[in-house]
């Protein structure tokens, strides 16, 4: 593993063990650097290669997992959440049992993306999930056999979720894509440039797929009972057990922002971490790869991860050689984002009493009276609950045009004992280098409980 011996004391921390993080670790491993990959989920693989009792992992995913397990200088820590940054070269981490500070020389952010969940009447009813959310829950063991499911929103993820649901024995009554038939047909016509995607598309083909179809409302007493969809002005109703809805993906940029990384506007209008041709962010020693640099799929994430891992270990030439592969998948991402662009009419989905912020139960009506994020926080506590605006922040950007507020630590709810670890910076925890110890922020900066800050 350590071929040149030069980097053996270098600490590389990779946040996120999806395709980008796994590829980055594998590309960096031959340098001999000490590599830690952390992920808040139970197993590596990210969302696309999520493992579980009802998951069947692809050969590629299994191969990468096995290769990682064989790297003695790579430690994969699942069930571990990054809570905050500590100075410029350490993160505050938490798992089920403890909190600690993890130092690094080089950081590679592979924090992925989350689903864009847009509010519509009834979306808080039990039985409504994200589209990727439904897929994740089924893989994790959610029994859906015999259930009637309607999937709505936008993007190829809808078809992937439908395929997972059907395989698990559900009846997928409708897959409602908001993009027009023309857009989807134009996307399909371009697919020949990415042959592996044609095969995927054929595998996912679905007779219940409808374009130009939007969600109107979900109804039910204590659980989903029916959903209304609108196609060409006609409203149709479906009695169903579950509704899964997602409108594309939003890059997870929070850690990059805390570290001071510059953002860019991704092709679908969301914010993403800005990177150069070697996946370096604007902050020295911090790289970013995969969906956190813009929504583009697993193949693009693998190429970016590989580049980041190589560049982080000074293998610049090898990193540059992956450039054409990345460009190939960047072009796919461009098509994806262009053809599944969201119809502005979706802004009419929420009604006055529809909740937009599910943590603080803030309605659409109360937010339409606000003139921006600060006002919304002061008036309503919107975005100040447990999810820290991850759901409503992206929704409000689409609905009201408000740029998501700058994230503040802690980025996730954390135990008090974890926050105290930040103040005591116990050097025995997970620290192989000593150069950055004592690089601890003052206690006051982290003492505030989450959800009380106003941007």
């Amino acid at each position: 593993m350590n071929s040149n011996g030069k980097l053996s004391s270098m600490e590389i921390l990779i946040v996120g063990a999806g395709p980008a993080g796994m590829a980055a670790a594998l590309a960096a491993a031959p340098s001999g650097a000490n590599i830690t990959v952390l992920d808040d989920n139970i197993a590596p693989g990210g969302q696309i290669w999520r493992d579980g009792p009802n998951a069947s992992l692809s050969a590629q995913a299994l191969r990468l997992r096995e290769a990682l397990a064989h790297c003695t200088n790579v430690q994969v820590m699942c069930g571990t959440r990054a809570i905050s940054i500590v100075g410029s070269h350490a993160l505050l981490l938490e798992d089920a049992n403890r909190g600690w500070i993890q130092h690094f020389d080089t950081l590679i952010l592979c924090t992925g993306a989350r689903e864009l969940l847009l509010p519509f009447p009834g979306w808080t009813l039990p039985g409504v999930t994200g589209a990727g959310g439904l897929q994740a829950l089924i893989k994790a063991g959610l029994p859906v056999e015999g259930e009637r499911i309607v999937i709505a929103g936008s993007g190829p993820l809808l078809l992937a979720a439908a395929a997972t649901a059907r395989k698990a024995g559900a009846r997928v009554l409708r897959v409602a894509e908001q993009a027009s038939l023309g857009s989807v047909a134009a996307f399909a016509a371009q697919l020949a440039r990415w042959p592996s995607k044609v095969l995927q598309a054929i595998a996912l083909a679905n007779f219940s797929y409808r374009t130009g179809t939007q969600l109107v409302a979900v109804h039910g007493g204590q659980h989903v009972e029916s959903v209304q969809l609108r196609q060409s002005g006609q409203i149709s109703s479906f009695a169903c057990d579950r509704v899964a809805s997602g409108f594309g993906l939003v890059p997870n940029t929070q850690f990059g922002q805390l570290l001071g990384c510059a953002l860019t506007t991704a092709k679908n209008g969301t914010q993403a971490i800005k990177v150069d041709s070697l996946q370096a962010s604007s902050v020295p020693g911090v790289f970013a790869a995969g969906e956190c640099t813009g929504f583009g799929g697993a193949e693009r994430a693998l190429a970016q991860g590989q580049i980041a891992g190589l560049a982080a270990t000074n293998q610049t030439k090898a990193a540059q050689a992956v450039g054409p592969e990345r460009a190939h998948w960047d072009a796919f991402a461009t098509q994806l984002n262009r053809r599944f662009a969201l119809d502005p009419a979706l802004r009419q989905m929420p009604q006055a009493d529809t909740l937009v912020c599910r943590c603080e139960d803030v309605t659409h009506a109360s937010l339409t009276q606000c003139n921006g994020w600060t006002d919304a926080k002061l008036q309503s506590r919107c975005g100040m609950g447990a999810c820290q605006g991850r759901v409503c922040g992206a929704a409000a950007q689409f609905l009201y045009g408000w740029l998501p507020p700058t994230p503040r630590p802690p980025l996730s709810p954390a135990r008090i004992s974890t926050l105290l670890a930040d103040m005591t910076d116990a050097p025995q925890h997970q620290t192989r280098t000593t150069s950055h110890q004592g690089n601890c922020v003052t206690p006051d900066e982290h003492a505030q409980p989450f959800g009380t800050s106003v941007a």
């Binding site: 139970i42 989350r114 808080t124 039990p126 829950l137 029994p143």
Partner: protein, 89 residues
Amino acid sequence: MTATTHVEFALDGQALRVPAGTTLAAALALRDHGCARISVTGQARAPLCGMGICQECRLLVDGKQCLACQTLCQEGMAVDTGVREVGQQ
């Protein structure tokens, strides 16, 4: 099937048996309403994002706050959702 292929635990005092490797968020659906928590205005909520983002599935496992979607069901765990009755507004 051997005993190790399933785990048994208590959800709000009710015994549940699920295949090993099932997350708590997936297991919640075995109960009629499938809910994890009560919102600030009293609405019962169930898992939404399934991947550790939305925090809708937070509940107590052996007295500790957890996200059900990032917690595996384990033999003997005691889960408390605080959801006694669904439909309260």
